[in-house]
Each structure stands twice: as structure tokens, then as C-alpha cells.
């Protein structure tokens, strides 16, 4: 029974929540920066620029992928607030997913870091990640 519970735990699909856009208090956005030879880049916002066309009504993979990342960011904010230590936060699946995304987006670098800011509150930081060294440390057990 506990194995079944663990399997179903990630699924909020079976218990739908229909509170769409009920509270627009926090508008989280993902920023990242990288370091190479001891020089950090400026913070860059993770965003996908697309020009929407009628065809996107049928297939809109890039925007949906961006919304997927955004949902991971929102989930991280919720789950991070429930953890006791930084180690637990780093171990979160959504934290690792975001880190993988940054690494995949930025390509090979010495260090990676991301932060989540609130666009609705003068870009104040909601969460700043540790500096992560190598892509190897971001491997998630599948």
C-alpha cells in the first residue's frame, strides 16, 4: 500500500485543483547565471520568445515547455518552504529539474546558479540557489 502511495504521490492529477489564477500575489520568474574562469555572467531571465500564430492552437510545444518550467519553479517555492535544511531543498526533484534546465540551456560552464524573483514585487528574491559545480552533481536518479 505504501509503495502504491509513493507511486501516486507526485500525481495531483487524480485530485484536480481548479483554482486557476485565484491569487496573483507572487509572480515568480526564473533567472540564472554562470561562471567561467572566475567571472560570473549577469543574471539572465529564463524566457522563451515566441510569436504566436494560429498554428500554435494545434501545436505549441515551446510555450508549453516554458509553462512546464514555470510550474516547476512554483512547485519549488512551495516545497522549499516545507524543508528544514538546504540539503533537503537541493534534493528536491523540482530543484534538480531546474538545475538541469539551466545546465542544458547554458552549456558547459564552471559554475551555475539560479534564483527565483517576484516580478510583482520589484524583482525581490524568493529563492537563491547554491553555486553548483559540475553537471555530474545534478544527475537525478530516474
Amino acid at each position: 500500500m505504501s509503495a502504491l502511495f509513493r507511486f501516486l504521490k507526485p500525481f495531483k492529477l487524480f485530485i484536480p485543483s481548479w483554482n486557476f489564477f485565484d491569487r496573483i500575489e507572487v509572480l515568480p520568474a526564473l533567472f540564472y547565471r554562470t561562471s567561467s574562469e572566475n567571472t560570473w555572467t549577469d543574471w539572465q531571465r529564463f524566457q522563451i520568445e515566441t510569436t504566436r500564430t494560429p498554428l500554435h492552437l494545434i501545436l505549441n510545444p515551446q510555450e508549453n515547455y516554458f509553462l512546464y518550467i514555470q510550474s516547476q519553479v512554483e512547485r519549488l517555492l512551495v516545497e522549499a518552504s516545507e524543508q528544514k535544511s538546504d540539503r533537503e531543498v537541493i534534493a528536491l526533484e523540482c530543484y534538480q529539474r531546474i538545475l538541469e534546465l539551466i545546465i542544458d540551456t547554458a552549456g558547459p560552464q564552471d559554475l551555475f546558479q539560479f534564483k527565483i524573483v517576484d516580478l510583482g514585487n520589484q524583482n525581490s528574491s524568493l529563492l537563491v540557489s547554491h553555486e553548483h559545480e559540475t553537471p555530474k552533481s545534478t544527475e537525478v536518479s530516474k
Binding site: 500525481f11 484536480p16 481548479w18 485565484d22 496573483i24 504566436r52 508549453n64 516580478l119
Partner: protein, 245 residues
């Protein structure tokens, strides 16, 4: 036109197959981005099964055990894929897809009329909840009632909102009216069960609403996922009219 259970289930199967087919094709375009999630093979298998299932559905050849097995496979593969993605890929549209897919699969596995009627009602009630609960949640928020929440959503959020829509947010009365229209539309959902014609009118407005959400926020998956729920909604309106009026 009278909606019977066979027609409601047939249309649900058709629209749901289209929905899942499009979702599967979208994943093909994201092969590089989602390579770590290892959904490539299950998604490809799902794509092939759902394409065949759609064809069989359109041809009204959907009575064999193979057909039921195909939907069961789609259900298993969808759960597998979403689990690999951490529970969901696109929030509400995944939830609605799973509500309909689970109900439809059960309806095929248990071909007893009363069970099937119950499952169609389950889809209908979840569809009504999807609007009504969203409406109640917004009504409770002062920022939704005064238009500020919608303004923030359109101006500051991460959605790729077209500039022409952003410029409209400068008009406070317009944005406040729009907020109230959204709230009232969502709260009106349960009224659809009063009469089938009300249900049809609601569906027409709902499709327009979701299409607007696609144009403004890019939420294309919601259009298709909710489309698959409307046959149940209309069937239940007819059911109420026939049995209670």
C-alpha cells in the same frame, strides 16, 4: 438532436484521442529539452496507439476488446509519462485529460450502462467544478473583484501576452469589467444543467473563453482538453431534462 450515452461516449473518445494525439506530437518537438526525463519511447508508443485508436473511433469500429485494451494502454502510458515529468506537464490541462481518460477507460472496461452513466456524470461534475471553483476562488479575492489581479496577470506574468492586450490594461474600467465577466462566466457553469440549450450556449461561450486564453496566454492544451469534456456536459443536461423535468 437528442444526446444518448453512445453518442456522448463516442464524441468523448474522439475529442480525447485528438487531445492526446496533439499532446504526444508536442512531446516529439521537445525531444532535446526532455531527454533527461526519458519519455521518448513511451510517448512514441502512445502516439502510435492513440493515432490508431482515433482512426478506429472515427470509423465507429470501437467495440472490440483490442479497442478497450488500447485505451487502457494509453492510460498507463499517460501516467508513466506524467510521472517521469514530475506529476504534470501542463497543470490543469493534464488534470482534465486524466479525469476524462480515467473515466473513459473505466467506462470501456466496465460496459454496464449505469456505471457508464455514472462516469459520464463524473466528467460533467469535474468540468462544472473546473469553472465554478475557479469562479468562487476569484470572487473571494478583492484583487480579482477590482481588476488588479487580471491586470498583474496580463502585464507582469511570464505568459507571452501580446502587446495589444497589455495596452488595454491601461483602461481600468475595461479590465475591471473583463474581470467580472470572467468571474460571472465561471460561476454560471452549474446553470447548464437546467436546460440542454443553456448547456449548448455555455459550451459555445466556454470554447470562446478558452480560445481567448490561447490567444492571450498561449494555453492551447486547455482548448483541446476541455473540448473532450463538453459531450458529457451536454449529455448530463439532457439527462436532467429527461428524468427530472
Amino acid at each position: 438532436m437528442t444526446w444518448d450515452l453512445t453518442l456522448a461516449l463516442h464524441l468523448t473518445k474522439t475529442f480525447l484521442a485528438v487531445t492526446i494525439l496533439l499532446q504526444s506530437i508536442e512531446f516529439l518537438f521537445l525531444k532535446a529539452q526532455l531527454s533527461r526525463q526519458k519519455i521518448w519511447i513511451p510517448n512514441l508508443v502512445r502516439l502510435l496507439i492513440v493515432a490508431g485508436t482515433l482512426l478506429v473511433t472515427i470509423l465507429w469500429k470501437d467495440t472490440s476488446h483490442f479497442y478497450t485494451a488500447a485505451w487502457f494502454s494509453i492510460w498507463i502510458l499517460t501516467i508513466w509519462i506524467l510521472r517521469k515529468l514530475g506529476g504534470h506537464f501542463n497543470g490543469g490541462s493534464d488534470s482534465m485529460t486524466m479525469v476524462i481518460l480515467t473515466s473513459l477507460t473505466l467506462a470501456l472496461l466496465i460496459p454496464i450502462e449505469i456505471v457508464q452513466v455514472g462516469l459520464v456524470w463524473y466528467i460533467c461534475i469535474q468540468t462544472l467544478f473546473s469553472y465554478f471553483i475557479a469562479g468562487i476562488s476569484k470572487l473571494k479575492e478583492a484583487d480579482w473583484r477590482n481588476g488588479l489581479a487580471l491586470k498583474k496577470l496580463l502585464l507582469l506574468s511570464n505568459y507571452n501576452v501580446p502587446p495589444v492586450i497589455k495596452s488595454l490594461t491601461r483602461d481600468h474600467y475595461f479590465i475591471k469589467t473583463l474581470s467580472w465577466l470572467v468571474i460571472l462566466f465561471e460561476l454560471s457553469a452549474p446553470l447548464t444543467l437546467i436546460h440542454p440549450e443553456l448547456a449548448s450556449a455555455f459550451v459555445l461561450i466556454a470554447v470562446t473563453f478558452h480560445f481567448s486564453n490561447f490567444l492571450i496566454l498561449g494555453l492551447n492544451r486547455f482548448v483541446w482538453a476541455w473540448m473532450a469534456s463538453y459531450p458529457s456536459l451536454i449529455y448530463c443536461a439532457y439527462y436532467v431534462a429527461k428524468n427530472f423535468n
